[in-house]
Assembly symmetry: C2
DNA sequence: CTGAAAGCGCTTACAG
DNA sequence: CTGAAAGCGCTTACAG
C-alpha cells in the first residue's frame, strides 16, 4: 500500500498523512493520532527509497572494512555499539568490504556520488591518513574512530592510547621491572604509534634503556602474541614484564610464558589492553589479567551519537573526544623477580 | 550532477545514458563506451534512491542481530564472507540490532513494509523458528543460516552438525574413552540440538551410558567453557574427554584442565568445533587442538551467492545446502588414561 | 490546520 | 539503435 491509497482509504490528503507520519507540528493532534493508528492497523509504511529521493537524505551511514582481516572481534564489538545507537534514530548501517587502500578510496567516491549514505565512519587510522582529505574533498561527512593529522579539523573519537600505555609502563617500572617488553599493533596506525611513544617516554622517565628487541608488533592475534613472546624469552636477557596490545595477543603471550615453564605474575608480569570482549574476560584468566580498559562497544555507541549530531549540522571541530583509559590491577602483575 | 545534466552534457537522451550505464544490450557499443568514459571523467553516478524507487528493488539485504551478545566473533567472520561476496554485485548489507524476539520480528515487518531490503538473512535458528513463517507471510525473501522446521520449504545453508559431533564422539570412543563430556551451545538452537543428538546417538552406538552431568551448555565464551569444565572435573568420576562447541569454550576448558594439574591430550582429551577465526588457530594452541572444522566465513560467502540467486528468481527449495564438516586430529586427543 | 501540485532522479514501455 | 514521456512514492513550498 502506498501513500496515495492509504490517504484515500482514511479520507485525508497525502500531504496531511505525510506530515502526520513524519511528526511535523502543523498537524492537529487528533488527526495525527488517527493517521498513526490507521497506519499501524493497515500496515502502511512509507517507501524508504521514495522518502530518500524526496528528501535527499540517505538515512544510512557507511563503514568500510579493508580486507576480511580487519573485520575481527574489535570490529564486531564496535559495530554492536554503533548499530544499537543508530537504530534508535532509524539510521541504517551500510557495510562494505574492500581489499586494498585504492578500493577503499573508490568505495568512498562511490558512496558519495551515489548518495548512498549520509556519512561514513573512518577507522583504523594511519598517522597521515589520505582518506580524510579525500572525504573532505568529496564533501561526504565523516567521523574518525582514532586520530590522524590533517589540514582541516574533523570529527573524531579516540581513546587516550598514550595515557594507557604510560600508566601500564609506569606501574611495571614502579614494581621494579627494568626489562619491559611491548607487543604492539601495526606501527603504521596512529594508536600503535601513540602506544609506542608512551612506552618510550615512560621508560626514559624511569631511567630505563630502550631495547629495540623488546618492542615487537604485529596483528592482534593469539599467534602473534605467542611468537613475539617466545622471541622475547629466547633473548640472552629476557624481559620480566610485557605489555600486550590486546586480549588476543595476551592469550598467546601467556601460552608462551607457561610453555617456558614460567609463571605469569611471578616470573613475568603481563598487562593487556582490554577492549572488552564479552566472551573473553581478563577476570577469568588465571591469573586474572591486569589491564588498561576501554570498552570499544561504548566507543561505537558514542560515535553513533556523534554522527547524528554531525548530520544535524554540528560543526566537526565541536565533535572531538579523547577518552581516558582505566587501569585495573589484577593478579598478572607483581614485583620484578630478584 | 544528475542524469538530466549529464545526458545534456554529452548530447544523448536520458534513456540512452541510463541504458548504457545499466548494461542493457540495445545500446551501440561505441555509444556505451562513450557514456561510460564520460561518466568516469565527469564523476556521474546514478542516484541510488532514485534507481531504487524506479526499479522497486532495494539493492540491499538485511541482517538482524539480537542483543549485542549475538554480535560476536562468529558474526564478524560470517559478515566478512557475506559482504565480500555481495560487494561484487553491488548489494549493500543493512545491519540492525534489536534486543528481543518481538523487536526482531518487528524489524522484519518494518524492513518488508518499507522495502528497505530485498531479502534478509536469518541466523541462529531455533528448532521451531517463528521468524520463518513470519517472513513467508510477509513475502520477504530470506535465506536461513542453520536449519529449522517449517511448513513450507525455504532456502538454507547449514553445516552437518550431527556428522561433526558424531565423528568427534566416535573418535574419542575409539580411543577408549568411556566418560566423554560435551560443552554445547544454547539447546534452544537447532545446531545445539543436532550436536546433542549426535553425541547421544554415538555414545549409545558404542555402548556408552549417557551421564546428564557430562552434558553442559551455555554461551560460547571462555568463561562458560571454564566453568563447565571445572564442574566436570569436580565430579566423583570426571570425564577423560571433552568436546567443546567453539574455540572460545575450548580455551576456557583448557584453562580449567591445566589448573586442575592435568595435561590436555594426556589426562583429558579435548576436541573443539572450529569456525576458523583468523586470530585464534587450533594449530597454535599447546597441544594443538583436534577439531571439527568448518569456516564460517566460507558459509557467509556462499549465502551471499544464494541470496543473489534467490533474487534472480530461483526457487527457495533449490537453494538448500548442508555442508560436511572436516575432522582434523591434532595433539589434544589421545588414548584414554588406563 | 489542510490540500493540490510540483519535484526529487531515475527506469522502461512504447514509438520510431 | 535512440528518444519523449509516464511513472515509481514520497516531501514540501505555496495557497488557503
Amino acid at each position: 500500500m502506498n501513500l496515495k491509497e492509504f490517504a484515500a482509504r482514511i479520507g485525508l490528503s497525502q500531504t496531511t498523512v505525510s506530515r502526520a507520519m513524519s511528526g511535523y507540528p502543523e498537524v492537529k493532534p487528533e488527526t495525527r493520532a488517527r493517521v498513526l493508528e490507521a497506519a499501524e492497523k493497515l500496515g502502511y509504511r512509507p517507501n524508504i527509497s521514495a522518502q530518500r529521493l524526496a528528501t535527499g537524505r540517505a538515512g544510512a551511514i557507511g563503514i568500510v572494512f579493508q580486507g576480511g582481516g580487519r573485520f575481527g572481534p574489535h570490529s564486531s564489538e564496535f559495530m554492536g555499539g554503533l548499530s544499537t545507537r543508530l537504530q534508535k534514530d532509524g539510521i541504517d548501517i551500510l557495510v562494505s568490504t574492500v581489499e586494498t587502500q585504492d578500493e577503499e578510496e573508490a568505495a568512498y567516491r562511490r558512496l558519495a556520488a551515489s548518495k548512498r549514505v549520509d556519512a561514513v565512519i573512518v577507522h583504523t587510522t594511519a598517522c597521515t591518513d589520505t582518506r580524510i582529505a579525500l572525504l573532505q574533498a568529496q564533501g561526504l561527512p565523516f567521523i574518525v574512530h582514532g586520530r590522524s593529522e590533517a589540514q582541516e579539523p574533523f570529527a573524531f573519537l579516540d581513546i587516550d592510547n598514550f595515557g594507557a600505555i604510560e600508566a601500564a609502563t609506569r606501574h611495571l617500572a614502579g614494581l621494579g621491572h627494568r626489562r619491559i617488553a611491548l607487543i604492539n599493533g601495526d606501527i603504521a596506525h596512529t594508536y600503535a604509534r601513540d602506544r609506542d611513544a608512551a612506552y618510550r617516554a615512560t621508560l626514559a622517565a624511569h631511567g630505563l634503556a630502550l631495547d629495540p628487541a623488546l618492542a615487537g608488533h604485529g596483528e592482534f592475534t593469539d599467534e602473534t602474541g605467542f611468537r613475539l613472546m617466545q622471541a622475547f624469552l629466547a633473548l640472552p636477557s629476557p624481559p620480566t614484564a610485557v605489555i600486550a596490545g590486546s586480549m588476543m595477543s595476551a592469550l598467546g603471550a601467556m601460552r608462551a610464558i607457561r610453555i617456558a615453564g614460567l609463571a605469569v605474575g611471578v616470573d613475568v608480569s603481563l598487562i593487556a589492553h582490554d577492549d572488552v570482549f564479552p566472551y573473553l574476560s581478563p577476570d577469568n584468566l588465571v591469573p586474572a589479567l591486569t589491564t588498561t580498559h576501554s570498552p570499544i562497544r561504548a566507543a561505537g555507541e558514542r560515535i553513533g551519537d556523534m554522527v547524528l549530531r554531525l548530520l544535524q549540522g554540528e560543526a566537526p571541530e565541536t565533535l572531538q573526544e579523547i577518552w581516558p583509559v582505566d587501569f585495573i590491577v589484577r593478579g598478572s602483575t607483581g614485583p620484578a623477580p630478584a
